[in-house]
């Protein structure tokens, strides 16, 4: 057990706690808060993986912007969580559990188990800096980038349309 492995286990446990909280907390606000924890820790894990730029964007975009929006909407809906109980008693839960466990088991056996001891090719992993990402994004991936920007524009227009009282 090295220091890095311990660090990963701690962060992974925190991320999993967040994920479990999203699904099983009754109150939507608590679910949102645990999702914030999950996203924040995921940002730290991205740092571990060497992509600083994406780690900080994860914290800024997901934990900082998207989740504030979620909390805002949850509060606007005035939902105290009294009505929203995770449906653990119904048949749906059983079906869902079995289905997701089956998918998880299949994926684990097929994809993940061969990689459990793979620690990677040793190559110079300085690829996560803003400079390298910017260079590739604006040369090789410039066409998808423009498409994404149009998509975001459509999203803005659409959300403004939806927010208008009468349409």
């Amino acid at each position: 057990m090295t220091l890095n492995q311990i660090a990963f286990l701690v962060m992974g446990a925190a991320a999993l706690f967040g994920a479990v909280g999203v699904v099983f907390f009754r109150s939507p606000v608590r679910a949102a808060l645990s999702l914030v924890i999950n996203f924040f820790v995921l940002g730290l894990i991205y740092f571990m993986l060497g992509s600083q730029m994406l780690g900080i964007s994860q914290i800024m975009v997901y934990a900082g912007a998207i989740m504030v929006l979620f909390l805002f909407v949850v509060m606007m809906l005035r939902d105290d969580g009294k009505t929203d109980k995770p449906q653990t008693q119904e048949g749906k839960f059983l079906v869902g559990l079995v289905a997701s466990l089956a998918i998880a088991a299949l994926t684990y056996v097929a994809v993940i188990s061969p990689t459990m001891n793979y620690t990677g090719e040793k190559f110079n992993r300085i690829y996560g800096t803003p400079q390298s990402i910017g260079t590739v994004l604006f040369t090789q991936y410039v066409w998808p980038f423009e498409v994404i920007s149009i998509l975001l524009l459509v999203g803005i227009v659409g959300s403004i349309m939806l927010a208008k009282r009468k349409f």
């Binding site: 890095n4 492995q5 990963f8 992974g12 991320a15 999203v22 699904v23 939507p28 679910a31 949102a32 999950n38 995921l42 894990i45 740092f47 993986l49 060497g50 992509s51 994406l54 994860q58 975009v61 997901y62 998207i66 979620f70 909407v73 809906l77 939902d79 009505t83 929203d84 995770p86 449906q87 749906k92 839960f93 869902g96 559990l97 997701s100 466990l101 998880a104 684990y108 993940i112 188990s113 990689t115 001891n117 793979y118 990677g120 090719e121 190559f123 110079n124 992993r125 300085i126 690829y127 590739v136 994004l137 998808p144 998509l151 975001l152 999203g155 659409g158 959300s159 939806l162 927010a163």
Partner: protein
Amino acid sequence: MLSHLIPLASVFDDVPLGWFLTLSLLMFTLGGLGVMIRRNPVVVFMCIELMLNAVNLSFLSFAAYPSPVVGDPNQAAMSGQMMVIFVMAIAAAEVAVGLGIIMAIFRQKNEVDVDEMSTLRG
């Protein structure tokens, strides 16, 4: 010039790829379960975000651990990160529109519950 920038990548070589993928898988499974068992549409939305992030994590871990099968490891690393950027942008647009839809439904019916939303009329 003295710089104390620790190159983030060089200190980190001894955690196997499978651990990251396992975390990603667990998150994805939990997200899927949440979509099935929750009734509040906002929470369902959060579970979808969780699944998207699980996928992001697996993209980034494959980017950081290029397999010997793919050609240029730098190319593999960059393409993985690009996918994550696009997923983030799409998720942001999706949240803006989706939460707008939920708010519009709430204004119409004064209640949100995915099990009750069974009519197509507004």
